[in-house]
Amino acid sequence: MQKQPVAMTVNGRSRDGLVEPRKSLADFLRDDLLLTGTHVGCEHGACGACTVVIDGEAVRSCLLLAVQADGTEVLTIEGLEREGAMHPLQQAMRDRHGFQCGFCTPGFLMTAYALLSERTDFTEEEWREELSGNLCRCTGYQSIIAGVRLAAERLTNGEGSL
């Protein structure tokens, strides 16, 4: 099948490639751009591990073709770090032991990042609802909720910015 050119901004850098139309954005990020922080779990939209932020919104990168992301602005887990230091969301998750094996973590963080860019005053119940599209098989979720709530609290108090 004829490959097609794609160009997008990934974590602030212009990136392009030549892909088969059937290639998912997740596979393009991982295999072509070597950004392996985005994890592929179920590959059919159920687990949330592959969640990235596209034009400001959380999206399953396994359910988007790379060719569909042409011209968009993509933020992946690799884009959170700031000059070698952890992003406030990453720091808060670390402080609350919000990961164990870490497989689901990129998806949780990118989902939480998109939510926090809308507002920071989610209740615990709202966090649980909003993060229910991401599966974790280790933590039992308590520490993840604690982590995102700590991040929200710090952002609300002006300790760091998104």
């Binding site: 590959e43 359910l63 988007l64």
Partner: protein, 289 residues
Amino acid sequence: VKPAPFEYHRPTSADEAIALLTEHGDEAKVLAGGQSLVPLLGLRLSRPAHLVDVNRIGELSGVANGDGLRLGATVRHHTLEASDTVRDGSPLLAAAAPFIGHRAIRNRGTIGGSVAHADPAAELPAVLLALDASVEARSGRGTRVIPANDLFTGFLSTSLDVDELLTAVLIPPWPTRAGWSFHEFNRRSGDFAIVGVAAVVRLAANGSIDGARLAFLGVDSRPVRAETAEAVLGGANPSADLWSEAARQAAAELSPTSDVHGSATYRKHLAGVLAERALHDAHRRASED
């Protein structure tokens, strides 16, 4: 879980998309939000030779409220839950939207895609039945309007022709003195409903029921309207006994199947319970309207 190869088309106008569908017929599939189609491609349950991506067709993405709501086929589920225009024009639609999948799914999934996919456990097809909505379909032969009642023909099947593009969903103006309700039951938030129900109750000036709509999801190979129960409700005086009798009748007519998520008996029971709650809630809202 990788799709079989296909040729990708990205038209920028509905005419261009329709020309592609006309040319490729049943070899082509329309790609809207992709939240159902892409998994089917990955599992190779669907193997189209051509994929027609309609996401960049500007004329399909509009939300307008004039004589009823006109929602372009690629309006995202998140827009349905967040847009004031949608909430004003159809509060039931806005209230049902958050039940669809999860936020990341709703950011991409579209109303036209959900309706054309016609999953019997999906929220929007049943909601369209309860709203007496229609869809607009365009092909090389012209434009036609298909009432939701005539659209859902079976499991993942609609009366759309292979060369037709669903371009918009049309929802009649929200009636006065009307109330709505949407209930669904599932094991985890965001899962497909085991059973769900959408209800609209319209009151006459004297407080009796002018008309009612009750539609179920998850109980058959397609969304189902409970017409017998609707007939029982029409003209009757609202009461707790009436909700319970109408819900019993509605459930009695259903013939759900058993699967890993629940037995047929359980689904029937659940349908009655949810219908009773939905009628009660819809009537309460109608009384406040």
